[in-house]
Amino acid sequence: MSTAVVTGLGVVAPNGVGAGDYWAATLRGRSAIGRIDLFDVEDYPSRLGGVVTGFDAENHLPSRLLPQTDRMTRFALAAADWAVADADIDRSALTATDLGVSTASASGGFAFGQKELEHLCADGPSHVSVYQSFAWFYAVNSGQISIRHDMRGPIGVLVADQAGGLDAIAHARRSVRKGAPLVLTGGMDSALSPYGLAALISSGMLSTADDPRHAYLPFDRKANGHVPGEGGAILTVEDGDWARERGAHVYGEIAGYAATFDPSPGSGRPGNLRRAVRAALADAGVGPDEVGVVFADAAGDADADRAEAEVIVDLFGPRGVPVTAPKTMTGRLYSGAGPLDVATALLALRDKVIPPTVNVVADYALDLVEAPRPLTASVALVLARGRQGFNSALVVRAP
């Protein structure tokens, strides 16, 4: 079976716009969590967020795309451009029908949707924009990316709460295996708008702390929920043979993947994260001892943290593998989190350094990486979990 390799990274993250800036900030342990300043959050119980700064959509997108795009689509289009540029693709060697797109979104263009709901309710149906017919829906990023890059191959969109980003990368790998030489993939979300924040708060998952250093503390005894962030990553995934033939720079291989779902909450039965991790490692053909770092889901919720820590300890032994959660610097990015962690894992493998987790004093028997640490192994495991029981695990391997 052909391999699927990553050759280009496009990142929009709260602590860095562009893969280079993001990676430098992450290694420095620079957190972007702060009070949300996109609107007045005074009356909300959760006021902190990982807001993307330094992203000026006018500088990245043609003017005519602005009225028809939500913030998260602007992020996705810019990140797709950067991934394509990074991959240094020679389009003359490819036909449009070769090129696919698979993205994930958890909540679509939610701020755009709120604006049009306001037009509808306050002014009447004739005030609703023509662009409401697609700008808010979950499929919009795959559609807009495919149009912008003339990609007419296999196309897909997945939603699986905060695990969906990894599922989209797996979808891309499947398209590559079926014959597409190149697929743009990843996830992007931004719901830091008034109605979006209300929806996030209703989940009960958000921290209500006001001190950015004490708000999102996964695996910490003081864990009290998470901080929402915005952004994500778009990657170019290519057929390994094709990438080698064209002499592409390869960050690494999407070597293994698996997804499971937990039993219903009332069943009293254990979750299925362990099964997902085992199956992903088996899919990659690697044993636990070959894994050099785990990028944890790091929910910041005591029960979810304990469940994840138990799986890691069970499979790798007590303090048996370095574990990190750079998302402590960005907040949780929903569908963007998994792809950003995959990008981070690939950069870690490239530079042989594990990025840190900030602010956390680790409980459980985890070897949590609190300062950048050398990475000698060539395999990283990325975990992403969604509310209600979505579990995805993805294994990347250095070239």
């Binding site: 043609p62 005519r64 009225p67 023509v130």
Partner: protein
């Protein structure tokens, strides 16, 4: 009786830019802009619908769908809108 409102080509360009973003630069003198196909300015059928809907709301007129669908240039859009504006005034 108020002077009837007439929308000029620059007026229409402003409305389109607000609704659908700035036009593509085209190689045409200002006085010829009205004859440049909207498609060459980068405006598709959705841009036209969004702009005509904005005009309808702003001036309280109704533009027949079938006629909007036939519009291909700024001059045609201007004629359609100004005809309606003249009728209501």
């Amino acid at each position: 009786m108020s002077q009837s409102v007439r929308l000029s080509i620059p007026d229409l360009m402003t409305i389109l830019a607000t609704c659908a973003g700035a036009a593509e630069p085209v190689d045409a003198a200002a006085e010829d802009l009205g004859e440049v196909p909207l498609a060459d300015l980068g405006y598709d059928s959705l841009a036209l619908l969004e702009a005509s809907s904005a005009v309808e709301r702003r001036f309280g007129i109704s533009l027949p769908e079938e006629e909007v669908a036939e519009v291909r240039t700024l001059n045609q859009l201007g004629d359609l809108v100004n005809d309606r504006l003249a009728q209501v005034r």
